[in-house]
């Protein structure tokens, strides 16, 4: 018992004040990039060719944040001139096209003001479906339940049964072997329901794009309401997206 108390004192109170107070991430963290549309086209072209995710469209100088895995190669190659990763974690969008990024994202909160906030603003229960990725997305979703993020203080919970849920949070490129399970789980959620695509995999197939063994784009299977980019999305990116969209 003494040890319990001793540890309790040592650990203290660790829950972040976010969103009232910002959390500063170390400068090496790769969050939302800045993109310079006036960058030398040859440099943009070089980045586009080297990008492992085919995420850069050199003609329009845009990065598809739904495909990007935030590897940082385009920043290295262009020496920050074309793309430069910031520590901004705010990246969720309501429309797939908004992820075709040329320097700014629409305010997520505006998108959902009436509809989703009214429906789920007070409490939101989600069923998480892991559908074929690498499990880092799941791991960084799970940490929202640790004392630091303490998701439940916002009235948001991940629940065990789709029947108790208001929607699904899907990670992974939807492997063919999980296709039916995703559909069945989704169908089991009572209406009205939301669908969240989390991570590059669920949005575009992520690192596995082009594989015959995946569906690759959740939206082609069921209509997605909220996109959370990243590979994996930082827990704060998920938290920000959930709070601005639903709260």
């Amino acid at each position: 018992m003494l040890k319990v108390i001793k540890n309790r004192f040592e650990q203290g109170h660790r829950t972040t004040k976010y969103p009232e107070e910002k959390i500063n991430l170390y400068k090496r963290f790769r969050g939302l990039p800045t993109v310079d549309p006036d960058c030398d086209p040859a440099v943009v072209q070089q980045c586009a060719e080297a990008c492992p995710q085919e995420a850069i469209d050199s003609a329009s100088c845009r990065i598809d944040l739904g495909k990007c895995v935030f590897c940082g190669l385009c920043e290295t190659l262009s020496e920050g001139k074309f793309a430069c990763f910031s520590q901004n974690i705010e990246m969720g969008t309501a429309a797939r096209d908004d992820l075709l990024f040329s320097g700014s994202l629409p305010e997520l909160a505006e998108h959902s003001k009436t509809h989703f906030k009214k429906l789920f603003g007070r409490s939101l229960q989600l069923r998480q479906i892991s559908a074929g990725g690498c499990n880092a997305c799941e791991a960084d979703t799970n940490v929202l339940n640790t004392p630091f993020f303490d998701l439940s203080r916002f009235g948001i919970q991940f629940v065990a049964s789709p029947r108790h849920a208001d929607g699904i949070h899907v990670t992974g490129p939807v492997s063919k072997n999980m296709r039916q399970a995703v559909l069945t789980t989704w169908e089991a959620v009572p209406d009205p329901k939301v669908v969240i695509a989390s991570g590059a995999c669920a949005i575009s197939g992520g690192p596995f794009y082009g594989s015959d063994d995946i569906v690759g784009d959740l939206n082609s299977l069921i209509p997605v309401d909220l996109y959370i980019p990243g590979c994996p999305p930082h827990p704060l990116t998920t938290l920000h997206a959930l709070l601005s969209f639903f709260k």
Binding site: K6, Q11, V143, S175
Partner: protein
């Protein structure tokens, strides 16, 4: 010709140097080797001629073996017969490997004692499926599960979508009341075609896919891949980069073990350490982020080096955090391991005997907890491991308590390694992406002690230096069978505990 080729970890050889035996010789060589205590690192098929030519009689088998007495890996090969006498019928060590051969290449291991699919994947040769599966159907698991019948016997089926935020798999428990006779595990739901992608996509995609074979092992698999490509492309890695890579691998190990010990504690309803370790795990992930910009170490290791150097600033930040966290880790560990209710549930739960562990080739902490000392960091050292002390553990009863205890020791050992590495002064060369040309007709195998145990990649190239076959093995490939065995004669309520003590990768297995 010698029947086995002895090579170093990560050493490139010409494919013609690999012994080519008759299947008969190959089979008896493998059986003799494993009979004498040897283990299988890799055993797979590949198509000698190009991809277009698949299924036209050019299939080969290749095995990579290891044993206690030799500090090199042993390689041997032969032509693949369409069907052959199962080696599993003689020794269990081949169990999963033969099933995988059947599934991936349509090769039939006759009289295999448990012939069933691995990941519900269509074979690449166009031959009919050896398990009689129909791939136009959506759901895997279409298969007569092992069943036990009798009064009081019932079956519990779980998954693929589990209750928590975890990966999909299907588990069938055959129970008598609360007692589990048998647990059958069917995976494959995470199958996303990793190996096929690796041998077909442009080189630039390889590191990204390598890091996502299993997200919590991004460094472990990323390293196996980088070393393989470096060997095939003659890329030199400087000392400073090696320090960063070794450090990253140890940070990954610490974070994962800490997370699991917290979860284990929660599974026996002792929640304070779960909350503390849940947060502390995050602190270590944030150290990886300081090092390379990502919590899982993504984007850090690339063939030829590392993308981010560790300068004085990073070194200091990491050092300060390590100093702050170490006593906390010690105290929370002490809290877990000195609590009688925890001990009472850990001790003698989910025991895998040393004999069984050896038979199925358990690796990593799960193997060490059964008294199998193998640690790839010691046996086949890469990066900085040649200069670093190994770890030994004393708790080898094979139960949940041993697996937890081994992890506790490994955390402290890894903390020591991280501190040692931080004290080294070499700085990595700054990174410039390089064009990589792989040597033609070559073969390389790389082995690293990822946090769950032995991870290994094999790459074979064709006459043009294109990748002919990319074979990945996650430690979970061996260890899932260990989890199934640990449940025998246990209460079904001990499943979460057994499961967490192994904490295996679904995606690393499913590929």
């Amino acid at each position: 010709m010698d029947k086995l080729l002895y090579i170093h970890n990560g050493e490139r050889v010409h494919r013609s140097a690999i012994p080519h035996l008759s299947f008969h010789e190959f089979r008896s060589e493998l059986l003799d080797f494993t009979e004498a205590g040897g283990q299988i690192v890799q055993f797979f098929a590949y198509d000698e001629n190009n991809k277009e030519n698949q299924g036209k009689g050019s299939l080969k088998l290749l095995a990579v073996l290891r044993n206690e007495s030799n500090d090199k890996l042993c390689v041997t090969g032969c032509d693949a017969p369409d069907s052959f006498d199962s080696l599993t019928a003689v020794t269990e060590k081949f169990h999963m490997f033969e099933r995988e051969l059947g599934e991936q290449y349509g090769l039939k291991a006759e009289s295999h004692p448990w012939w069933k699919m691995v990941r519900y994947q269509q074979n690449c040769t166009g031959k009919p499926d050896v398990f009689g599966n129909n791939y136009s159907e959506n759901i895997p698991g279409n298969y007569p599960y092992f069943a036990v019948e009798g009064e009081g016997v019932h079956e519990v089926a779980v998954g693929p979508v589990h209750a928590g935020i975890i990966e999909p798999g299907h588990f069938r428990f055959q129970c008598f009341g609360e007692r589990v006779f048998h647990l059958e595990i069917q995976l494959g739901y995470q199958h996303r075609g990793v190996e096929h992608l690796l041998q077909t996509v442009p080189m630039k995609r390889l590191p990204i896919i390598g890091e996502t074979i299993s997200g919590d092992t991004s460094i472990g698999h990323g390293l196996c891949m980088a070393q393989g490509i470096e060997s095939l492309a003659d890329l030199e890695v400087d000392e400073g980069s090696k320090v960063v890579r070794t450090l990253a691998l140890e940070l990954e190990r610490i974070a994962n073990h800490i997370g699991d010990l917290g979860a284990l504690s929660l599974d026996v309803a002792f929640s304070p350490p779960a909350a503390y370790f849940g947060r502390i795990r995050g602190e270590y992930l944030n150290l990886s982020q300081i090092l390379g910009g990502n919590r899982f170490g993504r984007g850090l290791i690339r063939p030829g080096g590392v993308t981010k150097v560790m300068g004085e600033e990073q070194r200091q930040l990491i050092q300060e955090k390590m100093t702050e966290l170490t006593p906390e880790v010690e105290h929370v560990n002490d809290l877990i391991f000195s609590t009688p209710s925890v001990r009472g549930r850990f001790d003698h739960t989910g025991t895998v005997s040393r004999e069984n562990a050896e038979k199925i080739g358990l690796v990593g902490y799960a193997g060490r907890a059964c008294g199998l000392p193998y640690d790839a960091r010691v046996k086949f050292p890469t990066e900085c491991y040649g200069d670093l002390p190994g770890n030994s553990n004393n708790k080898t009863d094979g139960d949940v308590a041993s697996r937890a205890e081994v992890r506790r020791e490994e955390i402290m050992h890894s903390i020591h390694l991280v501190n040692t590495l931080l004290a080294r002064s070499e700085e990595a060369n700054s990174y410039t992406p390089q064009k990589t040309e792989l040597a033609p007709d070559s073969f390389v195998v790389t082995v690293n002690e990822a946090w769950r145990g032995e991870a290994s990649h094999c790459i074979l190239t064709d006459a043009q230096g294109k990748i002919l076959r990319y074979k990945v093995k996650d430690p979970s490939f061996h260890n899932w069978t260990g989890l199934a065995l640990s449940l025998r004669e246990q209460g079904i309520s001990d499943f979460p505990l057994c499961n967490k003590s192994f904490n295996l990768s679904y995606c690393g297995f499913d590929l």
